[in-house]
């Protein structure tokens, strides 16, 4: 099976690209997602409404269409993004749309009594969010956040369509060179499983630790 040995390194390199993109995109969408969730809950009609519309657009459009609009569509307006930039931008925009809803649900799951206790102490809204609401929302959101992370890793498979050298791209390349799709896509599957099962394990460990004070 020297084909495996020959192409495994390429698959691993592709995995590195996927992980890099996912890590940046998730980190950005978590930060922006928290802010947008707070904006949606406390931001009044205009800001809240704008964020809701954004979420609906992201959730309502097929992922490939979003990616193509960013990469090909924008180029018609002389906005020529590199494959990597376009791929990353899409992952971020898509991720924010999902993260907002995860954080909104998490924040709203914290009981009114907790808000009242924070208010009664004289905490500002930001202090209450940072010290009381978000740490508790975090416990509620952890499973959804892990699902989100795995979803984003899987979404990177689409990025070969704009020419990013991810796992999928390498597997297709290997397939045309060797004409052994079963082996090539099999290796890609194994690579994705390794990544996502590792993430799930990390997730359950975190959840167990949180459970200590729940």
């Amino acid at each position: 099976m020297h084909v495996v040995a020959l192409y495994w390194q390429a698959i691993v390199d592709g995995g590195g690209v996927d992980l890099e993109l996912t890590a940046i995109a998730v980190a950005v969408s978590v930060v922006v997602g928290i802010l947008a969730a707070v904006g949606r809950i406390y931001g009044g009609k205009l800001l809240g409404g704008a964020i809701t519309v954004y979420v609906e657009i992201i959730r309502g459009l097929p992922p490939i269409l979003q990616l193509f609009i960013i990469y090909f569509g924008l180029s018609q307006f002389q906005i020529n993004l590199s494959s990597f930039s376009a791929g990353l931008l899409w992952l971020v925009l898509y991720g924010v749309g999902y993260a907002v809803e995860i954080f909104r649900a998490g924040i709203e799951a914290v009981s009114v009594g907790q808000r009242e206790a924070a208010d009664a102490l004289g905490l500002t809204r930001v202090q209450a969010l940072r010290k009381i609401i978000l740490p508790q929302a975090w416990m509620v959101m952890l499973p959804s956040l892990m699902t989100f992370l795995v979803l984003q890793v899987k979404n990177t498979t689409l990025l070969y369509l704009v020419g990013i050298a991810d796992i999928m791209y390498q597997a297709r390349l290997g397939t045309s060179a060797t004409e052994q799709p079963a082996i090539m896509y099999g290796m890609a599957a194994i690579a994705y499983l390794i990544i996502n099962l590792t993430l799930s394990r990390i997730g359950s460990t975190l959840e167990r630790r949180q459970a200590l004070y729940r």
Partner: protein, 283 residues
């Protein structure tokens, strides 16, 4: 007006939509005075006490806490006013509302550290002193879920006291507790009263109100139906409405069908929990 008035409430009115919860309530609370608010369920007692630190906005009237004033209707108070009032008014809730992700100690330390920028070491010392005073020094590192109801409420009281409030509000502090834990919490409150803390409490513990409160306010049907020295009101009520209420509460056996309003744990607060009182009669 005497400078010793800590809380001054005038013409307070609260509505939920078309329903009037209470109307035109006035109350002056002097420094170190203990005011017990009693009355049948649904009389608006909890809503009333929650207006004092503006957990509930109100529709008319005004509340002054020392130098800061809240006015009903119109624009909401400024954030600064609200913060000033809330930092001076401590509150213990019926459901304790401890922060579940923090230890008992963490719960008590948080307020001063966040709102007054007190250094962690100072906040810790103070929190430990407070927890020790309510007999919970050995539970300082426990998370709320590991604490009994009575312990949680005592931690919650410490959390409020850590802010050095000028007045403490108690919103039915013992009504969610198992009977055997009522005493320890009432003991703590009694200790506060003995130390001269100004207290306003909504309670169903009539015996406790009689012993500890200076003033009893009877609320019913959205009004104050009677107000006066605790013993007078509880033993010789003059208003018809409070007489009906007190008869039902003080003689629960004759009106068993009205079980919810019994709230009679009588002398239980002199049980073992009383030894955890803050100072006071404690040797």
């Amino acid at each position: 007006m005497s400078s010793d008035v800590v809380v001054d409430i005038e013409g307070l009115t609260k509505r939920f939509g078309p329903r009037t919860v209470f109307e035109d309530i006035s109350l002056q609370v002097q420094r170190s005075e203990v005011v017990a608010v009693i009355g049948p369920s649904g009389a608006g007692k909890s809503t009333f006490i929650r207006c004092i630190n503006y957990l509930h906005p109100f529709d008319a009237g005004r509340i002054r806490v020392l130098d800061h004033e809240l006015v009903g209707g119109g624009a909401p108070p400024s954030k600064a006013t609200l913060r000033q009032i809330r930092m001076q008014v401590g509150m213990a809730f019926q459901t304790f509302n401890l922060f579940p992700h923090l230890t008992a100690l963490g719960n008590v330390m948080l307020g001063p550290m966040e709102t007054k920028r007190v250094p962690a070491s100072d906040a810790r010392d103070k929190a430990m002193a407070l927890l020790t005073s309510v007999g919970l020094a050995d539970r300082a590192e426990a998370y709320p879920r590991r604490l009994s109801g009575g312990e949680q409420q005592r931690v919650a009281i410490c959390r409020a006291l850590a802010m050095d409030p000028e007045v403490m509000l108690f919103d039915e502090p013992t009504s969610m507790l198992d009977p055997e834990m009522v005493g320890e919490v009432l003991g703590t409150i009694r200790g506060l009263a003995a130390q001269g803390m100004t207290l306003i409490l909504v309670t169903h513990e009539m015996q406790f109100a009689k012993e500890v409160a200076d003033t009893v306010v009877v609320m019913a049907d959205g009004r104050v139906v009677e107000k006066g020295p605790a013993r007078d009101v509880l033993e010789h009520p003059t208003s018809e409405r409070s007489r009906t209420f007190l008869t039902r509460v003080l003689k629960p056996l004759e009106t068993v069908e009205d079980g919810q309003e019994q709230g009679q744990h009588g002398g239980q607060e002199s049980g073992p929990g009383a030894t955890t009182a803050l100072g006071g009669d404690h040797p």
